[in-house]
C-alpha cells in the first residue's frame, strides 16, 4: 500500500527514477515513467531510458567510484509531445543509491513551468542585449554622420544639449575667417571633375587642419572656400588670436605642401575680421545650418576677396586684439559695397616670437 501511495505521489509530482547496476543495466524504474524513453523496461541500460546520458559514461563512472558526488543536468530540453513546437524541461540527477553498494539512482524531475519562465527571461535578456548592441552601433553611425556634416563643436554642443536644435541664434563677439583658393577656376576648367574634387579636398584639408588645431568652428564650404568661426559656439576670449594663428599656419603649410597625383598646388587668400554677429542656426524652419550672420561675416568675406595668394589680411578690430602678437603691414583702406567709411586693412607678416 505504501509503495502504491509512493508511486502515485511521484507520478503527481512528475518525478521518475531508475536504479542501475555499475554496468548501467537498469534494475528498477518507478514514478512518472513517461519521462523515460525507450521501452521503459527493466534490463535496458540507463542511457536507453535517458538518452541525454548517452556518451556520459565517463561522469557516471566518476559517480560510481565516488570521484564525483553527483552528476546533474538542469533544464534538459525535450519536445513536448502534447503541444507542437513547445519544449518540456527536465532536471536529471544521478547519484549513488547507497554508499555500501555501487548502484546508481537517476532521478528525472519535470521542471517545465520553471524552465519556460527561465527561457522567457533569458530570451528577453538576450534580445535586449542584441538590441542594445544594435543601438550602440547606430549611435556610432549617427555620431559619425553628425560630426562629418556639422561642425565638431556644434555637434558636441547639440549632443550635450548646450545648443538648441532650432532656428535662431545669439549675438556674440566673434572672429570670422574665410580662406579661398586662388586660381581654382582656371584649373577647374583643365581638370576632370574627379581631379577637381581631389584638388579641392586636399587643399581644404590643409586649411581645415590649421583651423581645427586652434579650436575654430568650420561652418561651411563654398566650392573652393571655407568659412570658420571663433568664439562660437563655445567661449574663446582670444578668438582673434586663434583666427590669425589658423590663417598664418595655413599659409606656412601651403608653401611646402605637395598635392600629389600630378595635381597643381594652389594658394589660399585668407581674410579675417572680428566683431559682433548673430550666431546660430540659419535657414528654413525645416533645414538649417550653423552660421554667423551680420556685418562682421560680410566684412571678413570681402577682405578675403582682396587677399592675394599666400596673404592673410585682417580688419582693424582683429588687429587691435592681436597687436602685441603679430607684425603687420598697413595696406590702403578699402571701401566696401554699401559703406561710406573706408575700412583699414592689414597684412599679417609674421607672428611675434614664432619661427
Amino acid at each position: 500500500m505504501d509503495r502504491l501511495i509512493y508511486q502515485k505521489i511521484l507520478q503527481t509530482l512528475q518525478i521518475a527514477y531508475a536504479i542501475a547496476e555499475p554496468d548501467l543495466r537498469v534494475v528498477e524504474i518507478g514514478g512518472a515513467s513517461s519521462l523515460l524513453t525507450g521501452d521503459r523496461f527493466v534490463g535496458q541500460t540507463l542511457p536507453d531510458l535517458i538518452p541525454e546520458l548517452q556518451g556520459c559514461e565517463s561522469p557516471l563512472h566518476d559517480v560510481l567510484t565516488g570521484k564525483l558526488p553527483l552528476f546533474r543536468l538542469e533544464q534538459i530540453n525535450r519536445d513536448d509531445a502534447t503541444v507542437r513546437g513547445a519544449v518540456r524541461y527536465l532536471t536529471l540527477t544521478v547519484r549513488l543509491l547507497e554508499p555500501e553498494r555501487p548502484r546508481l539512482l537517476a532521478v528525472l524531475t519535470d521542471t517545465t513551468a520553471q524552465g519556460r519562465y527561465m527561457q522567457m527571461l533569458t530570451q528577453q535578456r538576450n534580445e535586449l542585449a542584441l538590441l542594445q548592441r544594435d543601438l550602440v552601433q547606430i549611435h556610432g553611425q549617427l555620431d559619425f554622420l553628425l560630426r562629418h556634416y556639422v561642425p565638431t563643436q556644434v555637434a558636441d554642443a547639440l549632443l550635450e544639449r548646450r545648443l538648441l536644435p532650432r532656428p535662431g541664434g545669439e549675438l556674440r563677439q566673434v572672429s570670422v575667417l574665410f580662406a579661398d583658393l586662388r586660381g581654382y577656376s582656371r584649373w577647374a576648367g583643365q581638370l576632370s571633375p574627379q581631379q577637381t574634387m581631389q584638388l579641392v579636398n586636399r587643399h581644404l584639408t590643409v586649411a581645415c587642419d590649421a583651423i581645427a588645431e586652434v579650436g575654430g568652428t568650420i561652418t561651411q564650404f563654398m566650392a573652393d572656400a571655407v568659412m570658420a568661426l571663433f568664439n562660437a559656439p563655445g567661449d574663446q576670449p582670444d578668438h582673434a588670436w586663434r583666427a590669425v594663428r589658423a590663417g598664418v599656419t595655413l599659409q606656412r603649410r601651403m608653401k611646402s605642401y605637395r598635392v600629389g597625383d600630378g595635381l597643381p598646388r594652389l594658394d589660399f587668400g585668407v581674410g579675417i575680421h572680428s566683431g559682433p554677429a548673430v550666431v546660430g542656426n540659419t535657414g528654413a524652419h525645416w533645414r538649417y545650418a550653423y552660421s554667423a550672420i551680420g556685418d562682421t561675416t560680410n566684412t571678413a568675406f570681402r577682405i578675403c576677396g582682396i587677399a592675394q595668394a599666400g596673404e592673410v589680411l585682417i580688419g582693424s578690430t582683429t588687429r587691435q586684439q592681436v597687436a602685441d602678437r603679430v607684425t603687420v603691414t598697413a595696406l590702403s583702406p578699402i571701401r566696401l559695397k554699401g559703406k561710406s567709411k573706408l575700412l583699414p586693412i592689414f597684412r599679417v607678416e609674421d607672428m611675434k616670437g614664432s619661427a
Binding site: E52, Q54, C56, P59, N77, V87, Q123, E127, L130
Partner: protein
C-alpha cells in the same frame, strides 16, 4: 559496430548553435531566434571511413549533439555539462566580432574537464555578407591559436555545416 561520441556546441548566445544542429540533423532552418536554456541533446548518425583511402571500410559514428545554452548565467554549470565531451564545435557569429574573442574561454572550459576533446571552429552566419564584422584572416588566426580547423558556415543556407561536423567526426575517429 557503431561508435557513439558526445559532441558539444559552445559559443555566445545567438551565434546559431541550435540552428546549426537543426540544419545538420533535420536539414531545417528557422529565422526566429529562440534562446536555449540548459541543454538539448540530439542524435545524428553518420558514416565515415575508418582509415585513409577510397576503399577504407565505413564506420558508423553516432554523434550525441549537446546544444548548450550560451547565456551568462549558465557559465557556472557549463563545466559539468562538458564532462565526457569527445569533441566540440566552437561557434562564433561573423556579424559580431566579440563572439570570436569568447571562444578561447569556451575552449579552456572544455579542456579543463575533457582535456583530450577535439575541436572545430564554425564561423556562422556566412550568408549575412553585408553585416560581416570578421575577416577570414581573423578567423584563421583564432583557429590557429586554438589548434582547430575552421569553417565558414551558414545554418540558413547549409553552407559549410556538414563539412564542419564531418571534419569533427573524422577527428573523433582518428
Amino acid at each position: 559496430m557503431g561508435i557513439s561520441k558526445k559532441v558539444c556546441l559552445v559559443g555566445d548566445f545567438a551565434v546559431g548553435k541550435t540552428s546549426l544542429i537543426r540544419r545538420f540533423v533535420y536539414d531545417l532552418f528557422d529565422d526566429k531566434y529562440l534562446s536555449t536554456i540548459g541543454v538539448k541533446v540530439s542524435r545524428k548518425r553518420i558514416m565515415l571511413p575508418s582509415a585513409e583511402g577510397a576503399d577504407a571500410p565505413l564506420t558508423e559514428l553516432t554523434m550525441m549533439l549537446w546544444d548548450l545554452a550560451g547565456s551568462e548565467e549558465f557559465t557556472q554549470v557549463r563545466a559539468s555539462y562538458l564532462r565526457g565531451t569527445a569533441g566540440a564545435l566552437l561557434v562564433c557569429d561573423l556579424t559580431r566580432a566579440e563572439t570570436l574573442e569568447s571562444l578561447r574561454s569556451y575552449a579552456d572550459d572544455l579542456w579543463s574537464v575533457s582535456p583530450s576533446a577535439r575541436v572545430v571552429l564554425a564561423a556562422n552566419k556566412q550568408d549575412l555578407v553585408e553585416e560581416r564584422q570578421l575577416t577570414v584572416e581573423q578567423i584563421e588566426a583564432a583557429a590557429a591559436d586554438l589548434g582547430a580547423p575552421f569553417y565558414l558556415t551558414s545554418a540558413k543556407t547549409g553552407q559549410g555545416v556538414e563539412a564542419a561536423f564531418y571534419h569533427l567526426g573524422r577527428l573523433l575517429l582518428a
